[in-house]
Assembly symmetry: C2
Homo-oligomer: 257 residues x 2
């Protein structure tokens, strides 16, 4: 059963900046919706280095933006928002609000890795400090969990560095002392853009959990039908310089209205 | 002649975040004032990746903060603010407002390097794109000017990386193709914290121009007397998490009230 048997469907995606475009890309690819309304808070990016109260305040301001559109549901692509503000958003929205953390944990669960598997959580400082991924993964029965905040990953991606010597030395900086993981949670929307290098650092190619794919799986499980729309239109809004965000969308996703 | 023959003196220092503490440190060391009121807009840091209109809006909001204090003058330690918002700040303030760009250019001028010297300007994207340093240096008669925005320097410093393999690979990433400079403008408040590595990359140790020292020279030239105060009290305010900013001040400057 599709939730939307008729009429046009619209999803809101909120992120601190451009990173959430990786989530938009996954949702675009599945054509669940006729339209994506994307809002990036580029004037105040990044969120992941800020504290819970600030992140919540910004998220509630973004909610006011989305109230101007007739959206069917809102996805907060930003892990830092999902970690700290999801309950507040749900309390104040009159449409369903999904974060990316719970879907990420659910995607891991579905892979049915052995219970002694080693799980590595990568996120911003705000996400890791919230402990949301860690407690969710522990609840699945996994006990071997590392969680680190490799703060240089976001600026590296923003700088367009997806491979090469600088990236390798940064990976070494954060990963050298870790035990080799069996699965890695890419707990920040920027990280899928360097997923190949992250996975490649560990020779055996661990399972990578990507927020965009996780939320797509979750939407499907909720009854949103893939390929329902002939095409999905992506409308991009930003708190500063929307033209720059549209250029990034073109570069990362190859399309934008 | 000292400008303040009597009464207590107070300077305001504004920065996007913690970086301006390097400027506060230079002003502290000279004991020009009885008190420094420092405001870091930590809830919206960084500014250097944002656009001129956003930076100006944020700077004017900070000005409202400083109007609550009886300050003798305001220094915008942030180069990005100095590059884009200094005229607006001056138009709306009823105290003198100094940026760090003009003092930096003046400090370079005082060194009287030969006219064929090669000058390298390092700054945020916002600062470099403004062209303020470049035009000021050109007006001194220098024509061999490189200006680049090494965007990873700020996150490296924020991450506490002041030396080692990661820093060296990042320096190489930005500097490998440059001609060896005779002088380097450290056009961002974070850069003095890795000044040794920046200078050291170029074997012959170029002259380094540091915003904090430049503004201290400028203040002295304006009649502010060094060692006027017995001690300078540093009061720290932030738009989020002032406790974290105070801890950074303690770490970088070794003191705070």
């Amino acid at each position: 059963m599709g939730i939307f048997e008729m009429g046009s469907s619209r999803i809101g995606i909120f992120d601190s900046g451009a990173g959430g475009l990786t989530v938009a890309g996954a949702i675009l690819a599945h054509r669940f919706f006729d339209e994506i309304v994307y809002f990036g808070d580029t004037a105040r990016v990044p969120y992941g280095t800020k504290d819970a109260a600030t992140i919540t305040r910004y998220a509630l301001e973004a909610l006011e933006f989305f109230k101007n559109f007739d959206i069917d549901l809102l996805v907060t692509a930003c892990n830092s928002v999902s970690a700290h503000a999801i309950e507040e958003l749900r309390a104040q929205a009159d449409f369903p609000v999904y974060g990316v953390i719970e879907p990420g944990i659910w995607a891991l669960q579905k892979r049915r890795l052995p219970r002694d598997s080693k799980i590595l959580v990568l996120g911003t400082r705000a996400t890791v400090q919230s402990g949301r991924y860690q407690s969710g993964i522990r609840a699945l029965g996994y006990e071997r969990i590392d969680a680190i905040a490799p703060s240089l990953f976001v600026p590296l991606v923003e700088e367009g560095i997806f491979e090469g010597e600088v990236l390798q030395s940064v990976l070494h900086h954060y990963f050298a002392k870790l035990e080799t993981p069996d699965a890695i949670i890419l707990g920040c929307t920027h990280f899928p853009l360097i997923a190949e290098a992250i996975g490649g650092y560990f020779g055996h190619k661990p399972l990578l959990i990507h927020s965009g794919e996780a939320i797509a799986e979750r939407l499907e499980s909720l009854g949103y039908a893939p390929h329902r729309a002939e095409r999905t239109e992506l409308r991009i809004f930003a708190s500063e310089n929307p033209a720059a965000l549209k250029r990034t969308a073109k570069r990362w996703l190859g399309m934008v209205n």
